[in-house]
């Protein structure tokens, strides 16, 4: 590609750093942009704008333009806090419009294999929030993976002794799902967690 255009080669290189983008996708994106200069300006501006304005909330570590974020300063239930791995998990819960408490983004999950230990998560900051004394329940909403489960167990050990109620998201069969398509492991969990009516 070098012999055609150095700047194009550079763009391809940058695009390929993005997740899910390989050689072919990078070429497709680059040539699409070449054909529509108006889009290029808008895209470049929004990239810079996001980069300049969006940051992590100093309280909950969610993404925000104003620090502290709208959720942390908003009129929400201060007695309950939901712990998630990433900002996008927080957005997923917000979309459900069924949680009215506060959040705390851990910025990852325990994974010694990838070099992530408690010190790499925002746990010290979380404990500081607990120390202020208003929180009565912590909802653990880490992922249902080996790492997420380990993180949930770690946090339970840490938080329970503080006299705070610790709960975990339920898991099992998705809403609107036909039973016949549920995989064996999910079905097993669903049966274990069945509830009385």
């Amino acid at each position: 590609m070098l012999y055609i255009s150095k700047s194009l080669t550079k763009l391809l290189g940058e695009l390929k750093k993005l997740p899910g983008v390989g050689e072919k996708t990078a070429l497709r994106l680059a040539f699409h942009l070449l054909k529509s200069p108006a889009n290029v300006n808008a895209l470049a501006e929004s990239l810079l704008e996001v980069n300049n304005k969006v940051r992590f909330c100093s309280l909950c570590f969610g993404i925000t333009e104003d620090d502290p974020c709208a959720i942390c300063t908003g009129d929400r239930d201060e007695s309950i806090i939901c712990l998630v791995e990433e900002p996008q998990d927080m957005l997923a819960i917000e979309r459900s419009q069924s949680f009215k408490g506060h959040y705390h983004v851990l910025q990852g999950a325990l994974s010694p294999l990838n070099g992530i230990t408690p010190a790499n998560l925002t746990i010290a900051e979380l404990l500081r929030r607990f120390a202020q004394g208003n929180i009565r329940e912590a909802v653990l909403a880490t992922n249902f993976t080996v790492e997420g489960e380990a993180t949930a167990l770690y946090l339970t050990r840490l938080i329970k002794p503080l006299g705070i109620r610790v709960t975990r998201l339920a898991h099992g069969i998705p809403t609107g799902q036909d039973l016949e398509y549920v995989d064996a492991a999910t079905m097993q969990r669903a049966l274990e967690g069945r509830s009385e009516l």
């Binding site: 325990l110 010694p112 294999l113 230990t117 080996v146 489960e149 380990a150 492991a185 097993q188």
Partner: protein, 364 residues
């Protein structure tokens, strides 16, 4: 379960071919190094995506070719499915009825195979990992959910070992608990499998050996207290982890758990490795395989396909006759390789299809 037909293209030394099989005994005969075992291996690959000879793709693809292709038509409960496996230098791609399959667990059960080959004897005398591998694979072939549990356990183990290696104790507790919990489930499934096949193993061994010797198997865990192992393996494993903390710190690895456990093969109550002849050891492994077959048959209501590699070099005349007589009473498809047809005692000739193999060519 019956493999009706196979198509082979650029695999090992075999010529491109399509072969129809009989529903009972299929005997591949010919001199050594002609391709008999390659044929058996192609069937095993279609069933498991793996080779029983620890081969890499480069070895499996015919010399000079870019890829190899295997297809099998498998009949189960009156439905025939087409399984195909594309071998490329970089990887393997499986399809069932022309649809791509990405997860091993989805491929599971499309063609169940059990193999008995000269290499298996290493399982008796070799390191524990060969026996663990056998056990895990055998359980998985009857219980697809075992794979997930197994992968989960090893992921937790690797994470925990990383902490130990780094001498980082913050959070170690959590990984210990997870390891104990998942490890206990693994141990429970292993013990349950062994207790299911124990009786079968004994019966099959006496059928093959034709004497009063008694074959047994026990799960050899590094955890003490056999009584509690079944009832309370989680707590037991947790205690053992605590006890071995000092050793773990020194060595930087997890020293107890199902990843260290072993199988103990017994004949007349004595350890097979030390107290049995070659012939006894071979008969034992064969009986173990037969028990595995019966286990699969009981679980799914159909038997897997049995692959016997170079059987006659494995067993003496008496034992191989016992085996053939025994197999003739079982409704199941069997593939056998042998150097001479005379080695395979034909009783009921119409049950047999024979194929001669010469320099990679299969002649019917």
């Amino acid at each position: 379960m019956i493999l009706n037909k196979i198509y082979i293209h650029s695999f090992r030394n075999l010529e491109e071919t399509e072969i129809s099989f009989g529903s009972r005994f299929n005997v591949f005969y010919g001199k050594n190094a002609q391709g008999k075992t390659n044929l058996l291996e192609s069937i095993f690959l279609l069933g498991t995506m793996k080779s029983f000879r620890m081969a890499r793709n480069g070895d499996l693809i015919k010399w000079g070719a870019d890829y190899g292709l295997l297809k099998g038509w498998v009949e189960k409960e009156n439905v025939t499915r087409e399984i195909s496996l594309l071998l490329e230098k970089q990887g393997r791609k499986a399809k069932i009825d022309q649809k791509q399959v990405t997860k091993l667990a989805d491929f599971f059960g499309s063609l169940n195979v059990v193999v008995f080959s000269p290499e298996e004897i290493a399982m008796v005398r070799g390191m524990p990992d060969a026996r663990r591998r056998y056990l895990d694979r055998a359980i998985f072939s009857g219980d697809a959910s075992y794979l997930r549990l197994y992968q989960e356990y090893y992921k937790i183990l690797k994470n925990r070992n990383t902490l130990l290696k780094n001498g980082d104790t913050n959070g170690l507790d959590v990984w210990s608990d997870k390891l104990a919990e998942t490890g206990a489930r693994l141990i429970t499934k292993r013990i349950a499998y062994l207790s299911e096949i124990k009786g079968l193993l004994g019966d099959f061994y006496s059928n093959i050996a034709g004497n009063g010797e008694e074959a047994g198997v026990i799960y050899h865990s590094h955890l003490p207290d056999k009584e509690r192992l079944l009832a309370d393996s989680g707590a037991l494993l947790r205690e053992a982890l605590t006890k071995s903390a000092a050793e773990e710190r020194r060595r930087g690895v997890t020293v107890v758990g199902p990843h260290r456990d072993d199988l103990e093969f017994l004949l007349n109550g004595k350890v097979l490795k030390h107290h049995a002849s070659q012939g006894q050891q071979r008969s034992y492994i064969l009986a173990l395989k037969m028990a595995e077959i019966e286990y699969i048959r009981q679980r799914f209501d159909y038997p897997p396909v049995l692959l016997l590699d170079d059987m006659t070099s494995e067993l003496d005349r008496e034992r191989s006759r016992n085996l053939m007589e025994f197999l003739e009473t079982k409704q199941m498809q069997v593939f056998i390789t042998t150097t001479s047809l005379n080695n395979v005692m034909l009783k009921d000739a119409e049950n047999y299809c024979t194929f001669s193999i010469e320099s990679g060519k299969v002649l019917n």
